[in-house]
Structure formats: structure tokens, C-alpha cells
Subunit: 329 residues, 2 copies
DNA sequence: TTGTAGGCGTTATCAC
DNA sequence: GTGATAACGCCTACAA
């Protein structure tokens, strides 16, 4: 069923049908009605490929993320999909993994699909390799980075002030009387480095020199968190609080401490980041930095569509975190 | 950069370039080489829209699932994406939610995109409404249901024998000396009904009449699991084992029982389904039915691509579950 | 082995 | 207001 079939049936030309479909002005009211009825009657479905060939836009948006099995990414993917669908776009979600070569491969897939725009999820895409790649492969279309930013004319960043958020987490522990606060760093992505800076800032504010920072690295999985617990007890028995850059290791930490008979939050306060569904699973439930994934995604889509509509939104917008207070503090 | 540009540069016609791009036979070795070099030199990228218009295939696969925020679905989405990408296809993932009207809306989106095939994730799509919808909207393309099946010529089902799996879970508890086993039913989807049947079958095998089945309904979330714990203690204090149809309520159950000072698995054994990442978060860790999501997805993609290649795979294939044994039993 | 010509379904530019 | 007509980029008989 093409617009020609509809046109023939209505006794008009294909152009008229096309105008009706696209809501263009300058059509007689009776013809418009008649055509609309026929479209409905035959359950006409527009051929996007033909439309795309003619207009050279696909209404397809590429979404790159490292791994959707991460619950935080899953929430982001969900929100992006719903927001894009609501505006007539569809997303192609690709799991790139962490390696540069793989990221490049997936960017090429997107260009071959002629996507109208790209959303990169996570600060892991904020680096010089991606900058070069965007320059060479994606310079013609808008690119929005969720929780990151690259200084290029066609790149837009929707950032979350996790540095400030993490500083507030530390402040929260200090105000609760904690004296020796540790930090569990995940992969050293720009985002995680910012969290570390927030931690450091709070320490400095409270008169603690950088040399007394307690940083446990590679805190990503639940097992890493358990390992961190052992490490803290062994090397920093004075610690009475710890901030993790992710929820999962925080959960692992809590679980391990329970096994060792150490009471949380009495002996050590714990916080995570992402305010994910994991937070209510631990005992005690985990206090976590809410980095506003839903708002971030909605803003990312808003910015992207704005650019596609010829507007000129800000290249950087910043959202602010909340702290979801639970029992672990 | 089109095939015409390449053709001009190479001093040949566009059809020759097209043939080279598509690896068709009957091209002189020198011309082929020359053209391949030019393609590389100009970083030629094929216009999928034009190709699609001409061949009426898009290499796009629609993936419908209820909600990717569910970790089990996220794993499935991940696996499907990787399997499709590896074969040159791309997936459009859409979260339909549970309602029929919404499912219909999303099916229409897929037909408008001219997807080559559709994968429906979950037995929630196995019902008469979807059957009618597939008949009217998707009759021209292959549809694969992951963990479900509908009797239509273009529909293929990759099933997991969760009935047998659940029966084995119950058998496991019986063989551990449990006498009064309860069941926590989630939404009454076909899949969950099958799990209930498996539970019933094991009971019958062990000489327990249907009238003595202990079924707690609406066990979906963590809170539901906690509620189930209270319900069991109140109404069936004799229960010494419970099988949940999902992991999350099982986690909630365990947590609530811990609060009440009831020891698991000593006093009550607990199992879940999906063997998800939640299982290692509870204390004790959760024994869960591994319903083979990765294998299921890979088989689903295999079947779909086979149909697209003109083969005639079986309309129903069945996978078998494992039990991931942990501390809760 | 290679070229020509027509067609895929839509939009856009002119005419009328 | 509406209708021809060309164009989008590629594929594929059919011809040569």
C-alpha cells in the first residue's frame, strides 16, 4: 500500500496524499478528510526507507553504552527509549564494551545506518580517542554525551555534578561525627575521578591533608567491595566511614562487614552512587548518591532533538545530585 | 559519496561498483581491486535507506520486551544485540509495558520501520491478542518468541522448560527432607503458570493432593516477598520451603525472615528463578533456577536469521534449565 | 565481464 | 489547491 494506491483510490495525485500525511497546509478540507479516511481504511504505513532516501533523515538515533547489563545503564536505556519514541524517533542501542577498537567499530555501524544523531552514555566516552573519532566519523550529526563532555562544535554534554554530590556525601558523614573517611574508587573514568575530587574537597574543608586520604582502588563488583572491607580492616582500622563510587561494591562491603560482625552504620558508615535498585537489597539498606539518571536522559533527548530542529541549545548543561538517605549512614 | 562517484573515478559503471560492494561474482580481478581501493580511499559508506528501498530489506530487527529495567531483560537485550550485530543486523529495542494497547502501538512502530523480523521477549506476548496482532500486522515477516510460542506459520518459539525446572526445584527440597513446600506466583503469565504446574507436579509425585498446595500470589517485587513471608508465618507456619517464580521476591522473603529471626535455610528453604545478579546479594545467597537466557537468545537469533535466509527451522525448540545451587536450600 | 535502464516509495520544486 | 516530474542511492534484469 503506497501513496499512489491511496491517490488513485481518492482520485487525486500522490503529492496531495503526501501533503496530507505530513500535515502540510494548502489542502481542501474535503480532500483532506477523504484521504485521511482512506489512509485509515487501508491501514496505510509509511515507508521510512523511501522517506529517508528522499529527505536524508532517518529518525534513527544511535545509543552507545558500555554494557546494558549494568542496572544503571538499563535504566538509562529505558528512559532514552521512551523519550525518543515519544518524539517519533527510534533508538539503536549498542553495547560497545570498554575498548577503543570496539567503540570505533560501533560508531561505524551507526554511520552506516545514517542515524540522525548519537547519544553516548557515560563519561567513558569522554576522551581524546572518542574526540578524534567523532571528528572523523560523526562530524555531520549532533552528538550528546550523557554525563560527559567533549569540546567540539557538534557535541553537547549533559553533566551531573557528581563532584559536588560526593563532597556532600562526605560532608554528611563528617556532620555525623565521623573522623576517618575512606573512598572506594571504581574505574578511573572522568566521572569517577570527579567523585574522588569531591571526596578530597570535603576532606580539605575539614582540615584533613591529601596525604591522609584513604583510597581503595578497583572497587567495581560486589567482590571488590568485600575485598575493600578486608583491606580497610587490615590497613585502616581507624576508618569509620567509606564512600563508594558505585552501589554494587558498597553492597559487597556491607555484606562482608556483616559476616565479620562489624556493625553498620555504628562502626562504619557506607554510601554508594546511582541510587540503584540494589540499594534496598542490602541490610542495612544503602544510602546512595542519586545522580538523576532520568532527568539526565530526558535532558539529553531534549537537547538532541532541539539541535535536529535547528535550534542552538547550550553545549553544556549541569544537573545536581540528591542524596537518597537510608540506613547505612 | 555514492557508487556513482566511485564509478566515475574508476571509469566503470555504477552497477559494477554495486557488484563489488555486494561481493557478486563475474568481475575482473583488476577492476575489482581498483574499485575496492577507491572504496577504502574515500571511506565509502553504503546508504542503507537506498539499499533498503531497493531490496525491501532493512537488516533491522525489532525487539519487544516489557521493561528493560528488569535485570533479566537487560541480560537478554544485551545478548540479542551482540548476536544480531555479529550477523550484520541491528536491533531496535522497545519497552512495551504490559498493556495490550501499548504493545500494539509498538508493533506499529516496527512495521513502519520495515523491520526484517521481530523478537518478542517473554511469555507475556503469548496470548490471543498478540496472535491477532501478528496476523494483521506482522504476517509478512518472521517473529520469534523467546520463552513463548504462538501457533502461526511465521512464528517461531524458543522455549525453556521451566515447568520441568520448577518441578526439579521442588524435588530438590523434598529430597532435602522438606515436607510443606509453598509457591510464590508472580504475574500469571504463561511462563509463570508453567512454573506453578511444575510445582504441582512435584507435589503430586510426593503424594500431596492439590488441595494442600500453598500458593501466595502477586509475588513480584522485593516488598511482595516480604509480604509473602508474613503471610506464610501467619497462615502456613508448617511451611518449610518456598519456591518463588522470580528472584526479587525471594530476596525480599529472605530479608524479611532474617528480620524476624527465622533462619534460612534451616527453618525454611528458598529458591528463585532467573539466576540473576541479585542471587549473590542476599544473605544467605539464593539458589535459583537458571533458565538459560543466553542460550535462549542465541537460539532465537539463530532461528530468526535462518528464516531470513530462506531456511525452514523448527517452529518450536526447547531448552532445559539448570539449578544454580547456593546457600538458601 | 560490463553497461543500460527501470524501479523501489517518498518528498520537493515547479507549474497550472 | 492540486498535479507532473525529477531526485534521493541502490539493485537487478536484460543487453551487449
Amino acid at each position: 500500500m503506497t501513496i499512489y494506491d491511496i491517490a488513485k483510490e481518492a482520485g487525486v495525485s500522490a503529492s496531495t496524499v503526501s501533503r496530507v500525511i505530513n500535515g502540510k497546509p494548502g489542502i481542501g478540507e474535503k480532500t483532506r478528510k477523504k484521504i485521511q479516511n482512506l489512509l485509515k481504511k487501508y491501514n496505510y504505513i509509511l515507508n521510512e526507507a523511501a522517506r529517508s532516501l528522499s529527505t536524508s533523515e532517518t529518525r534513527l538515533i544511535g545509543i552507545l553504552l558500555e554494557d546494558i547489563r549494568n542496572v544503571h545503564h538499563a535504566l538509562i536505556a529505558y528512559t532514552l527509549e521512551q523519550a525518543l519514541t515519544a518524539r517519533g524517533y527510534a533508538g539503536i542501542i549498542l553495547n560497545t564494551g570498554p575498548s577503543d577498537s570496539s567503540k570505533e567499530k560501533y560508531v561505524r555501524l551507526l554511520t552506516a545506518r545514517n542515524v540522525d544523531g548519537v547519544i553516548l552514555v557515560g563519561s567513558t566516552y569522554q576522551n581524546s580517542f572518542m574526540k578524534q573519532l567523532i571528528r572523523s566519523e560523526l562530524s555531520e550529526i549532533p552528538v550528546v554525551i550523557a554525563n560527559g563532555w567533549i569540546n567540539l562544535p557538534n557535541v553537547y554534554g549533559v553533566l551531573v555534578d557528581e563532584e559536588k554530590g560526593m563532597e556532600r556525601c562526605a560532608d554528611l558523614l563528617f556532620s555525623g561525627g565521623r573522623k576517618h573517611i575512606a573512598f572506594g574508587l571504581a574505574f578511573p573514568t572522568p566521572s569517577n575521578i570527579n567523585k574522588l575530587y569531591g571526596y578530597r574537597k570535603s576532606l580539605r574543608t575539614h582540615g584533613i591533608p591529601d596525604s591522609e586520604m584513604i583510597v581503595c582502588e578497583d572497587c567495581i563488583s560486589q567482590e571488590d567491595g568485600a575485598r575493600a572491607a578486608d583491606w580497610i580492616l587490615e590497613n585502616h582500622p581507624e576508618a569509620d566511614g567509606i564512600l563508594f563510587g558505585e552501589d554494587l561494591p558498597a553492597i559487597g562491603f556491607i555484606r562482608r562487614m556483616a559476616e565479620l560482625g562489624i556493625s553498620i552504620p555504628d562502626q562504619i558508615a557506607v554510601t554508594g552512587v546511582n541510587n540503584s535498585s540494589y540499594c534496598t537489597l542490602s541490610h542495612p539498606q544503602l544510602t546512595s548518591l542519586d545522580n538523576r539518571p532520568v532527568e539526565m536522559c530526558e535532558e539529553a533527548v531534549r537537547v538532541l532533538i532541539a539541535v535536529l530542529n535547528g535550534e542552538e541549545p547550550l553545549h553544556r548543561v549541569m544537573l545536581f545530585c540528591d542524596i537518597a538517605l537510608r540506613e547505612s549512614v
